[in-house]
C-alpha cells in the first residue's frame, strides 16, 4: 500500500472511526457539565453523578436489569452453545433448514416482532392454563434468552468449526462417552467463545428496550425501558452520568480481556 491509497486509507478509517466514537465522547464530556441544558458547556461539575445515586427508581431498575441480564445470559449460553454444537457437529438432519432459520431469525427480525409474538403467547397461555399470570421477571427472561441465544450460537458454532476434530475423535476412540467428550474436550476448547457469548448476551439484555417493554408488567420496569421513557422527550443529564459509568466499566473489561488474550497468544 503506497501513494494515494495511504491517504485514502487514513481518510476512510478516520471518517469511520470518528463517526463511531463521536457520540461516546459527547456523552462523557457532557456528563461533567454543570448546566442542566446539557448542550452548552458551563463548567465542570459532578452534580449529575450525585443526582444519579439519589435516584431510587433508576437504581432499583438497574438492579432488576442486572439480575435479568445475568439470568438470561446464563440460559442463552447453555441453549445457544447446545444449538451451535448441533449445527456444527451433527451434519444435516431432517428439518435442518427450519432449524437454521429459527436460529437466525432472532438475529435479524425486528425486535418488535419478537416482543409482540411472545407477549401474545404468554397472554394466550395465561387464559388457557392460568399461567404465567402477571408479566414480570420470567417473561422478560424468556424474551431475552430468545434474543441472545442466536448470537451465542453464531459465535460458538464458528469456534467449533475451527476446532481440530481429531481431538474429539481421539477421545471417542479411547472409549469416552460422547457426553463426556463434550464436557472434557470440546467445552474447555470453546470456553473463550462461550465466555464471549455470555458477555454479549449480558450486554444485549441490559440494552434491550423493545422486548422488555412488551414483556414487563406493572412494577417491573428494567433499566433500559425506564431510561427510554425518560429520554424520548428530551435530554436528561443524569442519564449522561449513567452512560459514562457504563462506558468506563465496559472499557475496563475490554482492555482487561484484550490484555489476557494478548498474553495467551504471545507466551
Amino acid at each position: 500500500m503506497t501513494g494515494p491509497s495511504r491517504t485514502l486509507r487514513g481518510l476512510a478509517l478516520g471518517l469511520g472511526f470518528s463517526f463511531l466514537y463521536l457520540p461516546i465522547v459527547c456523552l462523557v464530556v457532557f456528563s461533567f457539565n454543570a448546566s442542566a441544558l446539557a448542550t452548552s458547556w458551563s463548567g465542570f461539575s459532578l452534580r449529575w453523578y450525585g443526582a444519579l445515586f439519589d435516584d431510587q427508581v433508576l437504581l432499583s431498575a438497574a438492579w432488576l436489569s442486572l439480575r435479568i441480564a445475568a439470568a438470561s445470559a446464563t440460559a442463552a449460553v447453555v441453549i445457544g452453545t447446545w444449538a451451535g454444537y448441533v449445527l456444527a457437529r451433527m451434519g444435516r438432519f431432517r428439518g435442518f433448514s427450519l432449524y437454521l432459520g429459527m436460529l437466525s431469525a432472532p438475529l435479524v427480525l425486528p425486535e418488535v416482532v419478537l416482543g409482540i409474538s411472545l407477549l401474545l403467547m404468554f397472554v394466550e397461555m395465561d387464559s388457557l392454563f392460568g399461567w404465567p399470570g402477571q408479566r414480570g421477571f420470567f417473561t422478560i427472561w424468556v424474551g431475552h434468552v430468545m434474543l441472545c441465544m442466536a448470537y451465542v450460537t453464531v459465535i460458538v458454532q464458528s469456534r467449533i468449526r475451527e476446532l481440530d476434530r481429531s481431538l474429539e475423535e481421539a477421545a471417542l476412540d479411547l472409549g469416552a462417552a460422547p457426553l463426556k467428550v463434550f464436557f472434557l474436550v470440546t467445552l474447555p476448547l470453546i470456553a473463550p467463545a462461550v465466555g464471549a457469548g455470555w458477555l454479549l448476551s449480558f450486554t444485549l439484555s441490559l440494552d434491550d428496550v423493545v422486548i422488555a417493554s412488551f414483556l414487563s408488567g406493572p412494577g417491573f420496569t428494567p433499566l433500559s425501558p425506564e431510561i427510554f421513557s425518560r429520554v424520548r422527550l428530551g435530554l436528561k443529564p443524569e442519564v449522561n452520568a449513567l452512560a459514562t459509568l457504563f462506558i468506563l466499566l465496559v472499557g475496563l473489561c475490554v482492555v482487561a480481556a484484550y490484555r489476557v488474550q494478548r498474553r495467551k497468544e504471545t507466551p
Binding site: 500500500m1 485514502l8 486509507r9 476512510a12 478509517l13 463517526f19 463511531l20 463521536l22 457520540p23 461516546i24 459527547c26 456523552l27 457532557f30 448542550t39 441453549i79 447446545w82 448441533v86 457437529r89 451433527m90 438432519f93 428439518g95 433448514s97 429459527m102 436460529l103 437466525s104 435479524v108 427480525l109 425486528p110 418488535v112 416482532v113 409482540i116 409474538s117 411472545l118 401474545l120 403467547m121 394466550e124 468449526r161 474429539e168 475423535e169 471417542l172 476412540d173 460422547p178 454479549l200 450486554t203 441490559l206 440494552d207 428496550v209 423493545v210 412488551f214 431510561i227 427510554f228 429520554v231 424520548r232 435530554l235 449522561n240 452512560a243 457504563f246 465496559v250 473489561c253 475490554v254
Partner: protein
Amino acid sequence: MKRNWRDFRPPARALAIVPPFAWLALFLLVPFLLVLKISFADLKFGVPPYTSLAEFGDEAMRVTLHVRGYVLLFTDSLYAGTYLNSIKVAAVTTLWCVLLGYPVAYYIARSRPGLRNLLMLAVILPFWTSLLLRVYAWVGILRNDGVLNGLLMWLGVIDRPLEIYRTDLAVYIGMVYAYLPFFILPLYATLVKLDLRLLEAAYDLGARPWQAFLRVTLPLSRPGVLAGAMLVFIPSVGEYVIPEMLGGANTLMMGRVMWGEFFTNADWPMAASITVVMVLLLLVPLAIFQYGQVRQMEQAREGLR
C-alpha cells in the same frame, strides 16, 4: 478407526438435536403462529382483548376470520405509506452502511495483522456499550442547540441552526450509526480471507489497482456485502427506538405504528396484522440471508474435507 457422532445410536443423536429445537419451536414458532391467529380476530372488551376464531354451539364449529386489519392495511393510505417509508428508510440506511462501511472494512482487512485486530476491536467496542445510550447521545449532538450546530455556528459556516433533530435525516444518521458495525463485521470476515495471490496475479497481468479492485476484490467480497446488507436491512425495517428518539412525528415506520396500535390504541388484532405483513415483506430478504448462510456453511464443510 475414526468415529464421530454419526456412528452413534439414533436416539443419542436425536436427544442432542431435539431440546434446542423444541425450545425454538415453543418460543419462536408457536408465538408467531399465535400472532397469525390473532391477526384474524376482532377487538373485544375483556382479557384477552380479542375474540377467539372458533366457536362451538349447536354441534357446529363456526370459524370466523376477521380481516378488518388486513383490509385497513391495504386500503388506508396511512398504512401503505408507512410500509413504503419503512422500506425506504431501511434501504437508504443499508446504502449508506455499504458506502461508509466498505472502505473501513477493506482497509482494516488490508492492515498488518496486529493492527487489524486492534482496529476490529475498536469497531466492536461501541457495540458493547448500550445502543440506547449511544442513540441518546445523538439527541445532544443534533438538537438545534446541540454540539453540531454549536460547532458549525462557531466556525461561521452557518448563521442559523440546522433543523436536523426530529427529521428523517436524524433517523438516517442514527440508523447508519447503529447498524454500521453489523455491516463491517461480516464483510471484514470475507475480505480478510481473500487470497491475496489472486490480486498479485491480477497485477502481474497488468491490471491497474482500481481494475484489480473492481474485477477481483469486489466480486469476491459479494457474500460479505450481501450478508452485511441483510443484517442491516431486515432489522431496520421494523426499528422502533431510533425513529422514536430522533425522528419527527411524521417519520412513520412500521415498528412505531405497530407499537402505537398495541400500546396506545390497545388494538391487538391490528398490531398483529401489521406484524404479519411486516414479516411477510421481510421473507424475501430473510430467504436471501438464509441461502447465503447455508452456502457458507456448506463451503466451510467442504473445506474441511
